[in-house]
Symmetry: C2
Amino acid sequence: MKQLSDLQAIISAEVKQLNFPSYPAELYEPIKYILSLGGKRMRPALLLMACDLFGGDVNKAIPPALAIEVFHNFTLMHDDIMDNAPLRRGKTTVHERWNPNVGILSGDVMLIEGYKLMMQVDNAILRRILDIFNTTAVGVCEGQQLDMEFEKRINVNIEEYITMIRLKTAVVLGGALQIGAIIGGADTNDADLIYTFGEQLGIAFQLQDDILDVYGNPEKFGKQVGGDIMSNKKTFLLIKALELADPSQAAELNKWLNIQQPDQNEKVIAFTGIYNQLQVRQYAEKAMQAYADKAFTALDAINLPDEHKQYLRDFADGLMVREN
Amino acid sequence: MKQLSDLQAIISAEVKQLNFPSYPAELYEPIKYILSLGGKRMRPALLLMACDLFGGDVNKAIPPALAIEVFHNFTLMHDDIMDNAPLRRGKTTVHERWNPNVGILSGDVMLIEGYKLMMQVDNAILRRILDIFNTTAVGVCEGQQLDMEFEKRINVNIEEYITMIRLKTAVVLGGALQIGAIIGGADTNDADLIYTFGEQLGIAFQLQDDILDVYGNPEKFGKQVGGDIMSNKKTFLLIKALELADPSQAAELNKWLNIQQPDQNEKVIAFTGIYNQLQVRQYAEKAMQAYADKAFTALDAINLPDEHKQYLRDFADGLMVREN
């Protein structure tokens, strides 16, 4: 059985080998550029791991794994335009380095290139694989749409928020694992279970991200503490706090949410104080644990030797305690 | 054998029946909106016609035909953003009615929905159909990229221009016919020939469009005469004129190309005068005829009864003499 780090290394090497036409240069250069910015290649590596766990030939899973990585980077390229983001992994975003039109069109081609790579599977599983890919891709778009809508809305509830993060980030983890499992020879039931494992773990991971933004060790977390608070991001913590707040706490939160150029330090301190009073961290941790439990329950039910499943447990444990 | 107008009516009715989720509304409403703006539904109708000509069941070709129409409208939605176009078929464009982000993301989902529809074919032909769809889709993106680049470049030559219009508009006609033919049971050779027919006819049709912009009867053409001249569009006529111009004609053309707010009437008169002196209309008509001839040569070689092929000849004749 291959280690996750080995699978990530395989993907990193294969991404470098990906061939795109040289003409028109402005269409294909941005694709090479965004793929060269790195990243942990976690989604494609998980696809390979799922294939490996079910006894499949990892080499046969490489093109679909690259499809997932190309697709993921397509969503980043378009999301960066929509979010008006100047930087991606510390480098200039495509729409800034070229222009938004280049970002739109290169992204479109990336989505098609994703399909071309995903189609490099045996005929016997082609339709099943593409059905999963379609569902995953639509889900990510729906999640991005909800994310943008929630930025402008005040009254987002926890259920809506969970739906959004499930679609925007968790279904790709589930879909990658499910596709890898099918290539590896998993039956429908096991493939569905590994999807659930990935999806529920993805939700738990996103909730952990929300918690770490406020309560994480900045050295381990690698991001600015309070970044979500500074940008008024509607995280689990903020939504829960707005739900539980008494009138004076609500007034305080809303005051800060509406100041155009606040003192960010004071804002983070004020938010964190109210979060502490309302114990939203505990709510978030409870929810996170519940989704992690669902993930592990699905994993337990998969018809695989326990030592194979241990790889996914180790991966999940690594994710869930990584930063804190 | 069904008439083109009947096939267009089938598509119009089927487009109205297309179902999309209601949530998130901002993601799916723009798709329903752009599909409701009408259009001649020529591409999907040709797909059905090709299926019909080869003796296939037209009903089985309806989902892939809808895929071509959804894909075409995806390209329109994204092109309108890139071209900053306020109107599409006389109605407000999606990015104007909502905003550019909505246009980007709804367009992305449309491309995926196109794949979902295109996959509704028998397993035996799934991979062939999707390969053609992928090639078509990439071609259209490359064509749009070249079109945008050529707007900013001075030295576009005729060969580059033909490549651009082939990719941007002609490959979809070819691809639609080829997909329909395969669903209808055509062999590889005939499917390739009908692709060539559509592609070469598409180039001829675009060249006719360039000619009609300057020399068309405005009542029949339905567009403002000289619109391409007013917008400095690099058509076959302009490229050929710049190629053939003597120094004084070149200076005159470049003067008009660089005036920020010209008297458009005078500009059209000046351009048309130089076009007439250089006889670029004749060059364009000769090129148009050459591409039409290639289309008809491919059509002649298809292994179908002549009375079946007559439907495509009639269609092509209708296209090529329609406006003048």
